[in-house]
């Protein structure tokens, strides 16, 4: 069973890597993003991009010029558009998340590319001091370069966009809010 577990995780991580991108803006740090559809829409955090022009690097090293189309700083989301060619949009899951279920994150913390972090759902609820918005709170070790990257379930389906760390917990914007923003 153990070998199946690790093999399954490796497969899920490899699949998710196809739709996870690296986002650079000038000399600023590196963030992460998720290819959302075949039309070239990439979702990341609003705090990852400050201007309008960014570069987007996909898993195979292809580099695209990206244009920041719209930002929602209150929900910390940004939509970037790149030239669509052979993109692999991320599979998503809208079903209810359960505390204790496995999740994993891909991102670019500390200059690493496509780094994996694993954990579990802590709870899905508002966070004290962050208003009434619902957050996916995950018991997972994230770092600043994870911002804008995917939080995925055991099947590699995106359930939220990693946004910040609070009280040791990783906070992600739930899929329902991301989809509403992406429309």
């Amino acid at each position: 069973m153990t070998s199946s577990l690790t093999a399954d995780l490796a497969v899920a991580a490899q699949q998710l890597a196809l739709s996870t991108v690296k986002i650079r803006e000038g000399r600023n740090g590196i963030g992460t993003g998720v290819i959302w559809n075949r039309n070239g829409l990439v979702i990341t955090n609003a705090h990852v991009v400050s201007g309008r022009r960014v570069t987007v690097e996909t898993f195979d090293g292809s580099i695209y010029a990206g244009h920041v189309k719209i930002k929602d700083s209150s929900r910390d989301l940004a939509a970037i558009v790149i030239e669509p060619s052979g993109l692999s949009p991320a599979p998503t899951r809208a079903a209810l998340l359960r505390p204790g279920e496995l999740v994993f994150a891909l991102g670019n913390p500390f200059g690493l590319t496509g780094a994996l972090a694993t954990g579990v759902i802590h709870q899905v609820a508002p966070v004290a001091g962050l208003g009434t918005a619902i957050w996916i709170q995950a018991d997972i070790r994230l770092a600043p370069g994870n911002s804008g990257g995917p939080l995925a379930d055991a099947q590699g389906r995106v359930v939220g966009i990693n946004s910040m760390i609070a009280g040791g917990l990783g906070l992600a914007v739930p899929l329902v809010d991301v989809e509403r923003f992406a429309r």
């Binding site: 399954d8 204790g100 496995l102 579990v120 709870q123 018991d139 055991a154 009280g167 040791g168």
Partner: protein, 287 residues
């Protein structure tokens, strides 16, 4: 067909959901609530260090019901407090023996509001005594995040069985888990008597080397009118044994002074002025 990883994930979520039904929020301090476990019918255990008031305590169940609770007893030594709660209609936890827990086993820490963190058993060994004198049946340190409000919550195995109660109050180096057997023992005694009785002599002491192979406890202070004072023990006496139990450090004396010795005479073998002698002390109860 679900992958092994997906199946495992579902099992963890099911274990969390099941065990989480037994975990309540304990509203017993000014700001953040702590957690508690429904241990016996109408009895909730929590951590003593997070219970910062005696009155106006409430518990909140996973479905949001808030009920009044009264303190049945507290034991700083083991960091366990026991609350009585009327009308508590949630399942009672299912404990598992510490003997079945091994280093490397996957565990979940469950906090109030059904919250979870994942890890593994990092360290496990035999009985130990806390820095506050409490006797714990097994040392269990999980490599798991004990988030704010998690103290008093449950450490569960992958099947949802409760290994024990988590506390951040007994170690600087992270959270520990009080094994279920210790929680049960202390819970039952606090429920019955309201306190954990411990034997008491009323002396201050420290270890002193007697030879290359033996150590005793030298008496540094004697409490006025305490059990040792009444028995005639003096500053400078060196305790060698309590009955047949050799005394080489203060922990051994604390362990030997069990509750069943209270109000009973015990013989202390001591060195006084280089001569071996015996002093009979009637053991008191620690205030």
């Amino acid at each position: 067909m679900a992958s092994t990883l997906e199946t495992f994930s579902n099992e963890l979520a099911a274990a969390t959901e099941s065990a989480g039904q037994c975990v309540v929020a304990v509203n017993g301090r000014p700001k953040t609530p702590s957690s508690g476990i429904h241990w016996r019918a109408g009895i909730v255990v929590t951590t003593n260090h997070t219970l910062q008031q005696e009155d106006d305590i409430t518990v909140t169940t996973p479905n949001g019901d808030t009920l009044a609770a009264t303190v049945a007893g507290r034991d700083p030594g083991t960091d366990i407090a026991v609350l009585k709660v009327r009308g508590l209609q949630i399942p009672v936890s299912e404990p598992v023996e510490a003997a079945s827990v091994k280093i490397g086993h996957i565990v979940l820490a469950i906090g109030r509001g059904i919250t979870a963190s994942l890890g593994a058993i990092s360290s496990k060994s035999g009985p130990w005594r806390t820095w506050r004198g409490g006797s714990i049946d097994a040392f269990i340190r999980p490599d798991v995040s004990i988030y704010t409000g998690f103290s008093g919550g449950a450490l569960i195995d992958a099947e949802g069985k409760v290994i024990g109660m988590n506390t951040s109050g007994l170690s600087r180096g992270g959270g520990l888990t009080l094994p279920a057997s210790t929680v049960t023992r202390v819970c039952d005694e606090l429920s019955k008597r309201g306190r954990i009785a411990r034997g008491y002599l009323g002396i201050g002491m420290q270890p002193v080397r007697l030879s290359s192979s033996s150590t005793g406890l030298i008496v540094l202070s004697v409490e006025q009118d305490g059990p040792a004072h009444k028995a005639g023990l003096l500053v400078g006496d060196i305790l060698i044994a309590l009955g047949t139990t050799p005394l080489q450090d203060t922990g051994e004396l604390q362990s030997a002074l069990s509750a069943d010795l209270i109000d009973k005479p015990v013989v202390l073998n001591i060195l006084r002025g280089g001569q071996k002698t015996e002093v009979t002390v009637t053991v008191g109860e620690r205030p």
